[in-house]
C-alpha cells in the first residue's frame, strides 16, 4: 500500500519534470526558423471556427438564463435597472471566460489529445521525427499558439453573444431598447473588467493547447491510450483552468484594487 503511494508520487513528480521539458522544447521551437504558418492557420481555423457555434450557443443561453435568474432578486431589491451592469460585469470578468474555456477544454483539448495520440499510435510522429523533420514544431508549436490566440477570440465573441442573450431575456418582461441596454453594459465596464479577463483567457488557451499536446504526444502506443489521452487532456485542462482562474483573481486584486 505504502509502496503504491510512493510510486504514485514518483510518477506524479516525473510527470511534472516531463512537462517542464516539454514546455522548454515547445518554447525553443517557436523561435527556431521555419515557422509552420500554413499549419498554424489551419489549426486556427479548426480550433476557432469549428468551436464558434458551440461557444455561441452556450454563451447565448448563459446570458439569457443569468438574466432570468437574477431578475426576481434584483426586482426585490428594487435594483432592476442594475441588471445589464450586473450581467456585463459578471459575464465578462468571470462567467464568460471560464465557461468558454471549459467548453473548449472539452472540445479542443480532447480533440488535440486524441489526434496526437492516434498519430503516436500509428507511428506518424515517429515517422516525422525519423524523416528528419521536426514534429514538435509542426504539430505542437502550431497547436499551442493557435489555442492561445483563438480562445481569447472565442471569449470576446462569446461575451458579446452572451450579452445579447441577456438583452433578449430582458425583453421577455421589460421593454428596453437595444441601444440603451448596450450603453448600460458598456458604460458599466472599466479597464479592470476587460483587460485582466482577456489576459487570463490567453493562459486558458495556452493550458488547453499545452495539456492536449502533452497528453497526446506522450501517450503510449496502445489503441486504448488514444482514449486515455483525450480523457486526461480534458480533465487536466479543466483543472488548470480553475487553478489559473484562482491565481488570476489574486493577481488582479493585488494589482488593481489597492
Amino acid at each position: 500500500m505504502a509502496e503504491q503511494v510512493i510510486t504514485g508520487y514518483k510518477r506524479w513528480l516525473e510527470g511534472i519534470g516531463e512537462q517542464g521539458v516539454f514546455f522548454k522544447n515547445f518554447f525553443r521551437n517557436i523561435f527556431r526558423g521555419g515557422f509552420e504558418w500554413s499549419e498554424f492557420v489551419r489549426q486556427c481555423y479548426e480550433i476557432g471556427y469549428r468551436s464558434m457555434l458551440l461557444v455561441g450557443i452556450t454563451s447565448f443561453i448563459m446570458g439569457l438564463v443569468l438574466i432570468l435568474q437574477l431578475r426576481p432578486s434584483m426586482l426585490e431589491m428594487g435594483a432592476e435597472s442594475m441588471l445589464p451592469k450586473t450581467l456585463a460585469v459578471s459575464f465578462i470578468r468571470e462567467i464568460g471566460p471560464v465557461i468558454i474555456a471549459i467548453i473548449c477544454a472539452g472540445k479542443v483539448a480532447s480533440g488535440i489529445g486524441a489526434e496526437l495520440g492516434s498519430m503516436k499510435v500509428t507511428e506518424q510522429i515517429d515517422a516525422m521525427e525519423v524523416s528528419g523533420a521536426n514534429p514538435l514544431q509542426y504539430l505542437v508549436v502550431t497547436r499551442i499558439l493557435a489555442t492561445s490566440l483563438m480562445i481569447p477570440l472565442l471569449t470576446v465573441i462569446g461575451d458579446a453573444i452572451g450579452l445579447f442573450g441577456g438583452y433578449l431575456a430582458l425583453n421577455f418582461t421589460d421593454d428596453i431598447s437595444f441601444s440603451l441596454y448596450f450603453h448600460k453594459c458598456i458604460a458599466s465596464l472599466e479597464f479592470i473588467d476587460l483587460f485582466p479577463a482577456l489576459v487570463k483567457t490567453v493562459f486558458f488557451g495556452f493550458a488547453i493547447g499545452f495539456v492536449g499536446c502533452y497528453k497526446g504526444y506522450n501517450s503510449n502506443k496502445g489503441t486504448e491510450s488514444v482514449g486515455l489521452a483525450a480523457n486526461s487532456a480534458v480533465v487536466t485542462a479543466s483543472l488548470w483552468i480553475f487553478v489559473i482562474d484562482a491565481i488570476a483573481v489574486q493577481i488582479t486584486s493585488l494589482l488593481f484594487y489597492r
Partner: protein, 261 residues
C-alpha cells in the same frame, strides 16, 4: 553533424566495402521482456541485407535502434562511423536525413493528401522550394510505386496496400543513402509485391543505396537480397546468401524456405 557529412564525402570516393551501419552486440529489453539478446550486423555500402524472422522477434526494434528511436541497453550502433547514442539533437537530425525508414504500418500523415505527404520531407527536410522540381519528384516516385492516380487522395481513402506503397514513396523520395524497410511487401498481392521488390533493387542500383529489408516474403528476399540473416530469440542464428541458406540443414532455417521450394 560535421563528422558524418565528412565521412560520407570521403566514403563516396573510397572503399566499396566500407561499413555504413555497424551494429555491435546490442541488447534491448522492455521491462522484463528481453527482446534483443545479442545482435551484431555490418551493413556495407551498396548492399541489401534481408532480415528474416518470426513475428515478435525484435526485427522492428533492431532497426529502430539504428535511427535512434530506441536506445539499446548494451552495445553500440554506429552509422557512418558515429555512435548514434552519443549524438545530440542536431546530429541525430542530420543522420536521419540520410537514413530512410519505412514503417511497417506505412505511417502516412492522415491529415494530408498523398501529395502533401510526399512533399513534407522535400520541403521540411531537404528544404526544396522550386515548385516544378518538387512536383517532378513527387510524380516520378509515385509513378514508380504505381500510385499516380491517387495523388490527391487522403490516406483514409486508400487501401492498405496503397497506403504501404505511398509510405514507401515518401521514404524513397528523399533518396537517402541508407534505407531501412520494415516489411515493404506485406499485405500486397504477388504482382505488386514483385514490382516493389524490383523498385527496391532499382533504388540500390540507381542511388547506390544500402538497405536493410525486413520481410516475411521469400520472393522479395530472393529478388532483393545480397545477404540474408535469420533472427530468432533476439539473436541472429544464420547468415549467408539466399541460395546458401536455402540449402541449409538447420530445421529453423529450412522452415523459412519451405514454402517456396
Amino acid at each position: 553533424m560535421e563528422t558524418a557529412t565528412k565521412h560520407t564525402e570521403e566514403n563516396k570516393q573510397t572503399l566499396k566495402n566500407e561499413v555504413v551501419v555497424d551494429i555491435d552486440h546490442i541488447s534491448k529489453s522492455f521491462g522484463t521482456n528481453e527482446v534483443l539478446t545479442d545482435i551484431s550486423l555490418k551493413l556495407k555500402r551498396g548492399e541489401n541485407v534481408v532480415v528474416l524472422g518470426k513475428s515478435g522477434q525484435g526485427k522492428s526494434v533492431t532497426i529502430q535502434c539504428i535511427v535512434g528511436l530506441l536506445t539499446p541497453d548494451k552495445g553500440t550502433v554506429k552509422v557512418f562511423g558515429d555512435d548514434v547514442a552519443e549524438m545530440d539533437a542536431d546530429e541525430l537530425k542530420e543522420l536521419r536525413t540520410m537514413v530512410g525508414f519505412l514503417f511497417q504500418s506505412g505511417a502516412l500523415y492522415d491529415s494530408m493528401t498523398v501529395r502533401d505527404n510526399l512533399e513534407f520531407p522535400l520541403t521540411r527536410v531537404l528544404k526544396l522550394t522550386d515548385r516544378a522540381e518538387i512536383d517532378k519528384r513527387v510524380e516520378e516516385v509515385l509513378d514508380g510505386v504505381g500510385l499516380l492516380d491517387a495523388i490527391d487522395k487522403m490516406p483514409s481513402d486508400l487501401s492498405g496496400g496503397m497506403r504501404k506503397r505511398a509510405g514507401l514513396a515518401r521514404t524513397m523520395i528523399v533518396r537517402p543513402e541508407i534505407m531501412l524497410y520494415d516489411e515493404p511487401t506485406t499485405g500486397l498481392d504477388p504482382i505488386t509485391s514483385r514490382e516493389i521488390s524490383e523498385l527496391i533493387l532499382n533504388m540500390q542500383k540507381k542511388y547506390k543505396t544500402s538497405s536493410i529489408i525486413i520481410t516475411h516474403d521469400m520472393e522479395c528476399a530472393k529478388i532483393t537480397a545480397d545477404r540474408v540473416v535469420i533472427m530468432n530469440e533476439g539473436t541472429y542464428i544464420a547468415e549467408g546468401s539466399f541460395d546458401e541458406l536455402k540449402k541449409s540443414e538447420d530445421t529453423l532455417v529450412r522452415s523459412f524456405f519451405n514454402e517456396t521450394t
